[in-house]
């Protein structure tokens, strides 16, 4: 392990997860310019890349940015140096979540958690359950009440378990972050 690698521990671990080469990024900003969610971010995508280059783990993992990314892949598509920014965001989210750093955007994380919980329990999504538990955990009880009547006609009242649910649950177990 060379001296540079240990100095850049955060950068190297993200590189290993995403397969991207951050020294290629020359900070042109094309990713930020095309990002549809950038307007509300605290760090713009190209700034996240710069902070990774500088190995500033806390700044990146505590940001709102990584949870506001919509994974639309526009950045990756347009980057002139072929850096996979979208995959980088995935890697950053995974790392932040594993370290419990979710306070910048808790609602998005809660939604994803409840989504996955239903998949684990039944093998498929249970939309009314997802909405219910999300509202419970975030206290947004009155959200979208106006849409409820039309929605309830389409959604199931009870979850349906697939035959392979146990297999799916085992998948979840084996994929747990160590």
């Amino acid at each position: 392990m060379s001296a540079t690698k240990t100095r850049n521990g955060f950068k190297s671990s993200i590189e290993a997860k995403s397969g991207a080469k951050y020294s290629a990024c020359y900070q042109c900003g094309k990713c930020s310019a095309g990002c549809p969610a950038a307007y509300g971010m605290d760090l713009l995508p190209h700034q996240v890349m710069r902070q990774i280059q500088l190995n500033h783990k806390d700044k990146v993992l505590n940001s709102r940015t990584i949870w506001m990314c919509a994974s639309c892949e526009t950045c990756t598509t347009r980057c002139p140096k072929e850096v996979d920014i979208a995959k980088t965001m995935d890697a950053l989210r995974e790392m932040a979540y594993a370290e419990g750093r979710i306070s910048a955007q808790p609602d998005t994380v809660i939604f994803s958690e409840e989504f996955l919980n239903w998949v684990r329990r039944t093998g498929r999504q249970f939309e009314s359950g997802l909405v219910g538990l999300y509202k419970l955990r975030t206290w947004h009880f009155f959200q979208d009440l106006d849409a409820a009547p039309k929605m309830m006609r389409k959604l199931k009242i009870f979850p349906r378990r697939i035959k392979g649910q146990a297999a799916v649950a085992r998948i979840f177990e084996k994929c747990k972050a160590k």
Binding site: C28, G29, A33, G34, A38, R78, P80, K81
Partner: protein, 671 residues
Amino acid sequence: MARVGVFICHCGENIGRTVDCAAVAEAARKIRGVVHAVDYKYMCSSPGQNMIRDAIRQHKLTGVVVAACSPRMHEPTFRRATAEAGLNPFLCEMANIREHCSWVHEDRAAATRKAIDLVGVMVEKVKRNQPLLPIRVPVTRRALVIGGGIAGIQAALDIANGGHEVILVERDASIGGHMAQLSETFPTLDCSQCILTPRMVEVAQHPRIKLYVYSEVEAVSGFIGNFEVKIRRKATSVDSSICTGCGACQAACPMAKIPSEFNRNLGPRKAIYSPFPQAVPNKPVVDQENCLRYKTAKKKGTKAAETKVCGKCLEACPIAPKKAVDFSLCEDTFVTEKVGAIVVCTGFDLLPMNQFGEYGYGKYPDVIDGLQFERLASASGPTQGAMKRPSDGKEPKEIVFIQCAGSRDNAKGIPYCSKICCMYTAKHTMLYKHKVHDGRATVFYMDVRAAGKNYDEFWRRAVEVDEANYIRGRVSKVYQRGDKLIVKGVDTLSGELVEINADLVVLATAMVAQPKTEHLAQRLSIGYDAHKFLSEAHPKLRPVETNTAGVFLAGACQAPKDIPDTVAQASGAASKIQGLFSSQELERDPTIAHVNETTCAACWYCVDVCPYQATQKKEIKDRQGKLVKMVATVNEGVCQGCGLCAATCRSKSIELDGFKDEQICAEIMAL
């Protein structure tokens, strides 16, 4: 009886540190045929060379082996020293114990053993070397310049003024190239055509320059000093010897909507046209693809001269008794010229707009490239120099310039910088602001590259005096909404998103090689890189030569560059040619192939494989003139000594002088 002298060079530390040179000399002395072996610090130095010369005389050497660097470095040096001592220079060989030994190994013992082997191999070869005499070929002291842009014009003038005849071949109907399309040039803001047209006229009137416009190089054969070039003269349908360039035919032509290539499709031209008013020569040509008469003739299968359709240009031509417009001149013709040197000045092209999906694929009329902006700004352009945007002719109040459109972009396959765009974009902002005082020019850039003389001051003037708005950041997308172009960019220095509703967007598109250059390079047997830019012989020390002797390069065909560098390179190529033409004869390396006519089976495999067409078929006749047999023969003037024929020959009838089979086998056996 062989008497070989072996000289081991230390090359300072380069060889001496890894190879035990004294030991190699010691081992060499033991080889049969070696009568003298020494080692020395620097064989290529004067004392070193003296050693060789003295040893040749003293020990009556019949062959010399210098174990040192690569022959590509000093073979000429040692061969010259050998010749000066009265021994045929081709009896001197080099054993490469530097690039092939000391520079690639670390183990001293193993490297020394290898060096001894290498020396032994070369001694065996030299024992079987034959003295060879250089081949002398006459030099045709005329030059061919391919391309009539500023590079070609400069090279042609320099060579012609040096007293030699020049053939200048230009593909378009006029010389001038891209420089003629520019409005003003950086960093002086000189009017481009004002400084260029005097040179163009000088070329046209120069007694030693033969100008072929609307022509292309069709085929090239031969070798340095003796090229034969076939030139295709495209059909013009105009007898330029009697045409006065009055323009009446152009005014009369009814085909008024053909997009003008000179104006980069921003304005029209006629089917019979001269590319621009200041064209040199100012003689029009007929574009057969768009001429009504030619189109009708093609459909009907008749000849244009006999098809009574349109013909308004013919009617309008005032020349008498014979009209200058002549539809019988409808076929391309060919001429052959003999020249001694060739300069390639084919210039550049711009990355086409259809490569930019995020900027509209070229479908938005108000997203244009740098050369199109030049035409808009130019007084001789489609808007007479008024700032009017292509879609509706309105004066743009908000212009966005996007730098690095395609350049420095690995995703688009263009990792290099196009060098000129930072400067011409700064120039564009100034031209715009000088014409539209209340307009706003925004430049999205990554880095501003302004490395030439007065260049940095120039772009700072654009920012500080002409108030160009420079934002560091790339634009992700441009799309049309109503009559505005929405530009989505970012300011990386302040960390803010930027969105501009522009009236006109100018892309500084990447400079690329002309599409036909690859084909031309193959015909000339010169190299080119992955981006189809022509390869110079050495990037540092030989920028105007190619690896093919007698073919030189100048201008943007070699790499993106601006006008001052192009002119300098053109003059450089011209001076190399003056050097080449300074003597009546050229010496050629005699290590070429020879055919044993007794054993040749006339299978012609050697003719098929020769990349230089040096092997030819020869008839052997008896005294009565009756054909006895056919054999292969090698043209001494063309053969480059590559050895392909020798390797291919099935009857072992071809051998390379200096590299005969006996020699090669002896080398292998010595290992």
